[in-house]
Amino acid sequence: MQRIGVFVCWCGTNIAGTVDVVKVAEALRTEPGVVFSDNYQYMCSQAGQDMIKDAIKEHNLTGIVVCSCSPRMHEATFRKTAAAAGLNPYMVEIANIREQCSWIHKDMPTGTEKAIILGKAAVAKVNLNTPLTPGQTPVTKRALVIGGGIAGIQTALDIADAGFPVDIVEKLPTIGGKMAQLDKTFPTLDCAACILTPKMVDAGQNENIRIFSYSEVEEVGGFVGNFSVKIRKKARYVKEDICTGCGLCTEKCPQKKVPNEFNLGMDNRRAVYIPFAQAVPKVATIDPNYCTMLKTGKCGVCAKVCTAGAIDYKQKDEIIEEKYGAIVAATGYNPISMNKFDEFAYSQSKDVITSLEFERLTNAAGPTAGKLLRPSDGKHPHTIVFVQCVGSRCSHDASKGKEYCSKICCMYTAKHAMLVRDKYPDTEVYVFYIDVRTPGKAFDEFYRRAVEEYGVHYIKGMVGKVTPEGDKLKVLASDLLADKQLKIDADLVVLAAAIEPDKSARPLATMLTASMDTNDFFTEAHPKLRPVESPTAGVFLSGTCQGPKDIPETVSQASAAAAKVIGLLCKDKLTGNPCVASSNELMCNGCSSCEKVCPYGAITYEDKEFRMPDRTTKLRRVAKVNEAVCQGCGCCTVACPSGAMDLKGFANEQIMAEVDAICK
């Protein structure tokens, strides 16, 4: 039997004005388990807290009920008070007789009667409370960043600057991501490479950062503070530590007909390649799908020309196992496939291109050395049509495109249009749009300049059809404002393709037990208040894997995610919330219902041997809650039919006792 003390607070006249506190204290004195009951003007004051401490010691109290303001206000205060007097802090319950009683009721009898009932419910609950101790787990002081684009690079740099080791896993042979493929950046028009490549170099040289390029995460185990991760470092058939990146092999390789993915297949590379001049790590990679030596065993030119002796045709995939305290997802995006958009003739004409391809065409390091030339005949285009929202805001046909706005297209299209008019004033530029969306610092001004200073023709309306005819592209479109049909003979059509999360995100989310929305963007722990954390503790989100965003926003989010990681890694130990779910193994069926509703992936199963009454043993599947991961929502307790799963601090019998006390 508990020995419970009841403390009724006046809160000055806040409570005592409408609740007869003396009567409440008296009424509760006779409740089961109550051995002490008193009232005081301000329970939260030093004197009030001392009164509680003294009573705990004097009466050997095993639990206390404070009838006062909301537990959201002072539950923590009174728990500390209890702890100071040697009582387990979770043996404290609060009856909220201010916000939910004295403040909303006007007359004394009503307020007093309700306060007594609320007090009784709290007493009934404390009678069933058990001392709880939060679990503690150590923190591995190392972070993993998955994805080496600008988001991943920024997150890694910030974490490394705070003094923690961090690993970047990038599936391509170099870090840099999509930003490395861009030409200029809006709204300042500085060149992407000029601002990105120094950061790539920083990341490559930072002693706290290890870069696993051409690598993928294969398995994730553990939980916040204690993840263990298997990384597959794919064989690149070049010894990374020996290769100097001189590039001789990439010039001598006889296999010249490999589509160059960095230029989106608009030119070719060799079978051994370095994606681009500023790659980090600057190491050659042999493409096993095209290398004659790897395929037939005959060639070996690269090995012959390599003075460093870095080529190794026998190299195998390597599995690296490492422990991490925190994991950041920075898997980025891709433009969607244009296969379902036949009306724009993307597959029929080389001169219908996506905006990312356009970036490569205007980039000095691109296939045309920065000269804007048509892919089909290498001629300079004189009429260019830009089509916005290709696959974005496609709510009328979700099977074709995406329902969301890709957010960056309005701005990059304004940039492209402006750059064309700037470099080639003899070119007519049309932009077809649904709406022009330019929220962002200096964004609308930028768009206005495109229209007003550079004379770009912005037309509200969608392009209905593009038909290749001779060396022209017949563009059929509607101008909604003028309410007429337009026919334009274009030389080049640029499609602002919607962006979607990288395909690697979904399997990664499964490994991380991190949740995703229906579009495969990672879900944040709270859309407004915890935008860079995943609901899964210890997993953080950086960049476009969480939703479409531009470079400034990506970098802000990357740094925010880093700050959260640093905050976690600074701790030596993580103290959990002791009000977590726990499963009674003797009753658990192992049916998996609880696991399916857990938003945190805190529940796993194990086969356990049980001794049966007849001295035999039986192997049964039972649920196990990882207390470091469980956040205590209690969803699993209702999914569990037998009641084997219960929630500490809000147990079935505790809530049932409150119900009974209120309804008696």
Partner: protein
């Protein structure tokens, strides 16, 4: 139906800690009146509310039970209230099927900022249950002494 003028219903309100309980606190802060017949039980999330709690409340003499949680999409635990929504839809439909007045049960989403909504909801619900009169179909007279 005969209405007892002096009848005061007993209402049990399960409120999630993060939104609705805070909404109730806000109603208190703003001194927004609602009947003392409403007794709140704090749960971490609306998804903690087991149908057994609701039936038990009715059994012991509650005249109405209301469950309040964060608005869909705003759950502190991401998805808890989505499960609440399914569970309660099915449970309430079942109670209706058994001939228990559907006006005695309710789910309402109340955010921490909606003190006024909390008070208004409670006023309305108490009025609704008062009009129905005593819960005779689910309570057990022997439990009420």
């Amino acid at each position: 139906m005969q209405v007892n003028e002096n009848f005061k219903p007993l209402i049990v309100a399960f409120c999630c800690n993060w939104c609705s309980y805070a909404g109730a606190d806000l109603a208190g802060n703003n001194r927004l009146n609602y009947p003392a017949e409403v007794k709140i039980i704090r749960v971490p999330c609306s998804c903690r509310v087991n149908p057994m709690f609701i039936l038990r409340a009715f059994q012991r003499g509650a005249d109405g039970v209301i469950i309040c949680g964060c608005h869909p999409g705003d759950c502190h635990y991401t998805s808890g209230n989505y499960f609440t929504r399914r569970r309660m839809s099915l449970l309430f439909s079942m109670l209706d099927y058994l001939g228990i007045e559907r006006e005695r049960t309710r789910v309402e989403w109340v955010s921490a900022a909606e003190g006024a909504k909390f008070a208004a909801t409670m006023n309305e619900f108490v009025e609704q249950v008062t009009a129905l009169g005593e819960n005779k179909r689910l309570e057990d007279l022997r439990c009420k002494q």
